[in-house]
């Protein structure tokens, strides 16, 4: 065989474009969109997420849907912030016109938990008490339910407080009131500004706080009040909460009542506001005021639009976990990774491009599902049916849910890089993310373990869907089942992001070191 003359080296005249991250992204996006199964799965993710959200909405708390319009039970009074409130107490009041003040001393505050009148729930447990049983002085716009107020009060378990307009609660300087250490309370009205004070001796006064009650009328109702929320004996059993409710009656002894300013001088009126129990007795300069079966607080916040409308996120997430796992494991299974890395030898960039693609797809799935389910949800329900959380919070929940899907998808991708087998990856992510969410939010577990699951596992990220505020002064069941996550929205989301960052770091290290 003869050796032919060697031709000149080959020169291509092909025009090459850039060779940057954008091109790599374009390549990975092309990979994604050209596998029909993945595109279909993304569409399925949108569909199941929207469907489950909508069906959860029609079966939601107290739902009563007729002809495609759902209502809640009898409506609660609406407070000054447009939010439904509990406004129920025994009120001994007079009219005050213009500026003025009221001072009173409480020498005793007790609460009595009433046995269940039907005898079904048995007796309350020994030593039970109602820490938020309260009595004190109050300035209230009128006796209309939900009207503005400011109050300074003694409580059974939380010391002296100043509270106003249902949502605000400021701690005073004194502890529980008793004959040995009575609590002196003072409330001064100046225009729309109310200032609360307390004192241990009636001489030395300390300011607790001020409340600006915008639009407070000149003529207001001022006086003494007492009320107490009920006592709930909560037992967590497998499958749910077993709660026995008992009414409670707060009894307070007032004396040293002093009025200043434009008082009417009329006789005191005793009224049970908002269906509360109670009565009062005047003995000389002293008053005994009893009130119960009520409270002055924000309403027990129920679910809101944004959260309920996205309650199917976990279902969409399962589909996205499968997609994200496959997006990486098929590279390994077919040996396609060699082609990918030959085309783009910078491996960190390949991982980044893949993460951006699955993250963006998942984010889009979350947004589209919200765009479908939130309007449907709003058509089904009247606007006042749910706790209005505000546009900012709604935006946080909608975008946050989309971000939750995106971050879990990236987490899955990172684990897929490490584990290389789709079944193993999908199982792991479902155990780490979906299972804790289910166990914690479906009352399979008691609140303690539920809270820890939602603190320690990547499922903590679901806290981004938390909307309804938690009020210290409101006795309520704050468990994941009721939509209360143990971590604040962004803290929970940060836990998920931390898991994802660690997994991505490990994936990067392994991908760089391992032979392809």
């Amino acid at each position: 065989m003869t050796t032919a003359t060697v031709p000149p080296p080959y020169r291509s005249d092909l025009k090459l474009g850039n060779d940057g991250f954008v091109q790599l992204l374009h390549a990975e996006w092309t990979k994604f969109r050209t596998v029909r199964g993945w595109v279909v799965a993304a569409a399925v993710a949108v569909a199941v997420m929207a469907l489950i959200s909508i069906s959860a909405a029609t079966g939601g708390k107290g739902a009563n849907c007729v002809n495609g319009k759902c209502q809640r039970g009898p409506s609660d009074p609406i407070g000054p912030y447009g939010v439904s409130v509990t406004d129920s107490f025994y009120f001994v009041h007079q009219t005050l016109d213009g500026d003025g003040s009221i001072t009173a001393r409480i020498s005793s505050l007790t609460d009595a938990i009433q046995p269940d009148p039907q005898g079904q729930g048995g007796a309350p447990p020994a030593g039970a008490s109602v820490p938020w049983a309260k009595a004190g002085i109050i300035v209230k716009q009128s006796t209309t339910l939900g009207s503005q107020y400011a109050a300074v009060m003694a409580t059974v378990g939380n010391g002296v407080r100043m509270q106003y307009n249902y949502e605000h609660d400021v701690a005073g300087n004194l502890g529980a009131a008793s004959s040995a250490s009575p609590a002196w309370l003072r409330l001064v009205r100046s225009g729309t500004t109310l200032t609360g004070y307390d004192s241990a001796d009636g001489t030395h006064w300390t300011e607790i706080g001020t409340a600006d009650l915008t639009g407070l009328a000149s003529t207001v109702q001022v006086g003494l009040f007492a009320t107490s929320p009920g006592y709930n004996d909560n037992q967590y059993v497998f499958g749910g909460l077993n709660s026995d409710s008992f009414n409670s009656l707060a009894t307070a002894q007032f004396d040293n009542l002093a009025l200043g300013g434009g008082w009417s001088g009329d006789a005191w009126n005793g009224d049970a506001i908002g269906g509360a129990d109670g009565q009062y007795q005047q003995t000389g300069s002293g008053f005994t005021v009893q009130g119960g079966n009520g409270d002055i607080t924000p309403d027990v916040p129920d679910d809101d639009t944004a959260r309920l409308a996205l309650s199917g996120a976990f279902a969409g997430l399962i589909a996205l976990i499968v997609i994200a796992a496959m997006f990486m494991t098929t590279e390994y299974r077919r040996g396609l990774l060699r082609t990918t890395l030959a085309a783009s030898p910078r491996r960190g960039r390949v991982l980044a491009a893949k993460a951006v693609v699955v993250g963006a797809v998942s984010f889009a799935v979350g947004l589209v599902a919200a765009a479908v389910s939130v309007p449907v949800f709003n058509r089904l329900w009247s606007p006042d049916a749910f706790y209005p959380v505000g546009a900012l919070t709604e935006a946080r929940v909608v975008l946050g849910t989309a971000a939750l899907l995106a971050v879990v998808a990236v987490f899955t991708l990172a684990l897929a890089t490490l584990m290389r087998r789709s079944t193993a990856v999908i199982t792991t992510v479902i155990i780490l993310v979906i299972m804790p969410y289910f166990l914690a939010t479906t009352s399979v577990l008691t609140p303690g373990p539920s809270d820890w699951l939602l603190r320690l596992t990547p499922a903590a990220g679901f806290a981004i869907q938390q909307t309804i505020p938690r009020f210290a002064q409101l006795t309520n069941v704050y468990t994941p089942t009721d939509g209360f996550y143990p971590l604040a929205p962004w803290s929970g989301f940060a836990v998920l992001c931390a898991y994802t960052a660690v997994a991505l770091g490990a994936a990067l290290l392994v991908l760089r070191r391992r032979d392809a």
Binding site: M1, Y10, G37, R338
Partner: protein, 316 residues
């Protein structure tokens, strides 16, 4: 930058197995270099190392003087076909080439162009999972040629081809070399490279066995032997042996003579009055030359190990 593959002192172990053992060779432009060795000799590993896919314990592999991982638009420097089955089955050929093209900043137009030249146009929009091995080989070649690289590296491209395909592939490889490209083609069957490769890199057990031109190798393997056909076998043997030649009987009327040239043999026989019908220089086939070379370094012998590995991979 000259279009070459330079492999220098590569060493790599997979656990206790030595995959590459101080392997060095160079692939030059303008010729087809056959990369030959028995299954498990380290051919695929070497190619993965060249592409920066596998790490090495020692040594360097350079494309035009640069490590693969430092190349921009790497597919415009080296086109490679490692495994024609490395495809997402539900993705079409066109879409497979499309994402590759996007990764190099190439347009969809280039994809259509390469589909046309590789004869895949008709099936380009079908799922790659349904392709025959031959079609996958074509798609793999199309991917290798996508960015029109001056260096090509093909792992067992003859696998799964029908005889017609083999002839086509030989012509295709020769044409690439004729354009001035450097072409490295691995094969565990030497016969496939006959008439295609002009240079050979032979390895066994990860070690270089030969790095030589094809014609030099055949000359060496032929070893100056001459085939002789005669009806007077014993007379011929006597005459030639007396003249110092080594004679071997290869048939009832054939002998193989080593030592004197064919002209000298004819003269000796004529002098001695021995009749003969044919004297021809014995020309070894590439296959024979290769067998001679690798006799000592065949790693997996059926007789020793009880089986013959066929996937050409070292167990990991």
């Amino acid at each position: 930058m000259e279009a070459t593959i330079e492999v220098n002192g590569l060493r790599k172990r997979f656990g206790p197995t030595v995959a590459l053992d101080d392997l060095s060779f160079t692939v030059k432009p303008g010729s087809v270099t056959g990369f030959v060795g028995p299954n498990g000799a380290g051919k695929s590993t070497t190619m993965r190392v060249v592409l920066g896919l596998d790490s090495v314990d020692a040594g360097t592999a350079l494309i035009g003087g640069k490590p693969y991982r430092s190349l921009r638009h790497p597919l415009s420097h080296v086109g490679s076909l490692l495994d024609p089955a490395a495809l997402q089955p539900s993705r079409s050929a066109r879409n497979h080439l499309l994402w590759l093209a996007h990764s190099q900043g190439l347009s969809a137009g280039r994809v259509d162009e390469i589909l046309e030249t590789s004869g895949l146009e008709r099936v380009a929009r079908r799922r790659a999972g349904g392709y025959s091995l031959g079609m996958r080989q074509r798609l793999g070649l199309a991917a290798a040629m996508l960015a029109d690289p001056p260096v090509l590296m093909l792992d067992e491209p003859f696998n799964g081809l029908d005889p017609e395909g083999i002839v086509w592939m030989r012509g295709f490889l020769r044409s690439l070399a004729a354009q001035g490209r450097a072409v490295l083609v691995s094969s565990h069957l030497m016969g496939e490279l006959q008439g295609t490769a002009t240079h050979l890199v032979v390895i066994g057990r990860g070690r270089l066995v030969a790095d030589t031109g094809v014609s030099e190798l055949i000359d060496a393997a032929s070893g100056g032997r001459v085939a002789l056909r005669t009806t007077a076998r014993s007379e011929a043997m006597t005459v030639l042996a007396n003249a110092g030649a080594t004679v071997a009987v290869t048939g009832p009327d054939t002998l193989t003579v080593t030592g004197p040239s064919s002209e000298r043999i004819m003269a000796l026989l004529s002098e001695g009055g021995v009749p003969f019908s044919e004297v021809s220089a014995h020309r070894a086939t590439l296959e024979e030359a290769y067998m001679e070379l690798t006799r000592d370094s065949v790693e997996f012998r059926a007789a020793e190990s009880g089986f013959v590995r066929t996937d050409g991979e070292v167990a990991r």
